[in-house]
């Protein structure tokens, strides 16, 4: 297993005291966006990982501790948010794509 499943990896069975979790949802006009591509970028802007969002717009990463950028790209456009990951904590981030209206 090395590829990314939609929504990112399952959290079941993961020892959360030893992992840092960054997770959240991609939305557009308040509606979850399925099939968007969420990229985790390091402080230099370099790519680290990518997952497609699940049917409810969700994504998850298990990065190393530190500051990260979560960047979502979809047919509707792109948007990004900064987030800090810390071992033993779950960082929630909501990424809003530009309004389609």
């Amino acid at each position: 297993m090395c590829g990314a499943q939609p929504g990112g990896p399952d959290i079941d069975g993961v020892d959360l005291t030893r992992a840092a979790v960054v997770q959240g949802q991609v939305v557009c006009d308040g509606v979850p966006v399925a099939g968007a591509y969420v990229r985790l970028l390091d402080p230099a802007g370099d790519f680290v990982a990518e997952v497609p969002t699940s049917t409810d717009g969700a994504f998850r990463f298990f990065p190393a501790d530190g500051g990260w950028t979560v960047r979502a790209i979809a047919r509707a456009g792109s948007a990004e948010r900064k987030v800090v990951a810390r071992t033993g904590a779950i960082a929630e981030v909501r990424v809003e794509l530009p309004s389609a209206k």
Binding site: R39, F47, A49, P63, A64
Partner: protein, 280 residues
Amino acid sequence: MSRTDVLVDADWVEDHLDDPRVVLVEVDEDTTAYDKDHIRGAVRLDWKRDLQDPVRRDFVDKDGFAQLLSERGIANDDTVVLYGGNNNWFAAYAYWYFMLYGHADVRLLDGGRKKWELDSHALTADTTSREPTTYAAQEPDTSIRAFRDEVLDTIGAQNLVDVRSPDEFAGRLLAPAHLPQEQSQRPGHIPSARNIPWSKAANEDGTFKPDDELRQLYADAGVDLGRPTIAYCRIGERSAHTWFVLHELLEQPQVKNYDGSWTEYGSLVGVPIELGEGSR
């Protein structure tokens, strides 16, 4: 051989959707994407179930490959166009595999499934049926596949390119950040390896960067393209992406993919491991 011989774009695919001598093949590790929808006429290869031996760690042998392609309705003289998710990782792995078994005309859809989707090209859930063929595979071409003893002999003598993310390379993570981190291997990288993540060779939409930028990328990282090169990652599919860049796009003659990669190397007893940022 040039870029246009090994890469096609969406327009090319659209123009060949009804060409009986062109076979589109979607390759994924998680094949639910294909089940949901795929490019019209595409057949599926399941990276794990179809391409890996079910018991021991290796991929299917020559006869198994021939049987697989025969069942999928792929003939020796067909043009095979591979695409998939994860920025074409598994499609690039399958490309390497088709080359290993001597298929004459294999290409990648530049940008894979992601670009096809983002550009709003049509997908369908319709079932694809192709008449079975009698495919004949060649003996495996080991000039493009590296094994562990050769990798050990290569340390400091040839180019070793570790295409994992910097945190995996340094030993801070054991798997890419979209996976859980509980693994049995020791963390780190093979001494003397240069860390050039596969993603540096790709644009955000999954397409490959231009040749001149790719050459600069490896030159800036201290890779002497005049020497033989072995690429590795964790299980060999991200490094197949880099193998494609070096061997097929930049036309370097001596490039091997070490598909044992870190899951093998990081489990070996007594081999040298380097931690941290490496020699650059």
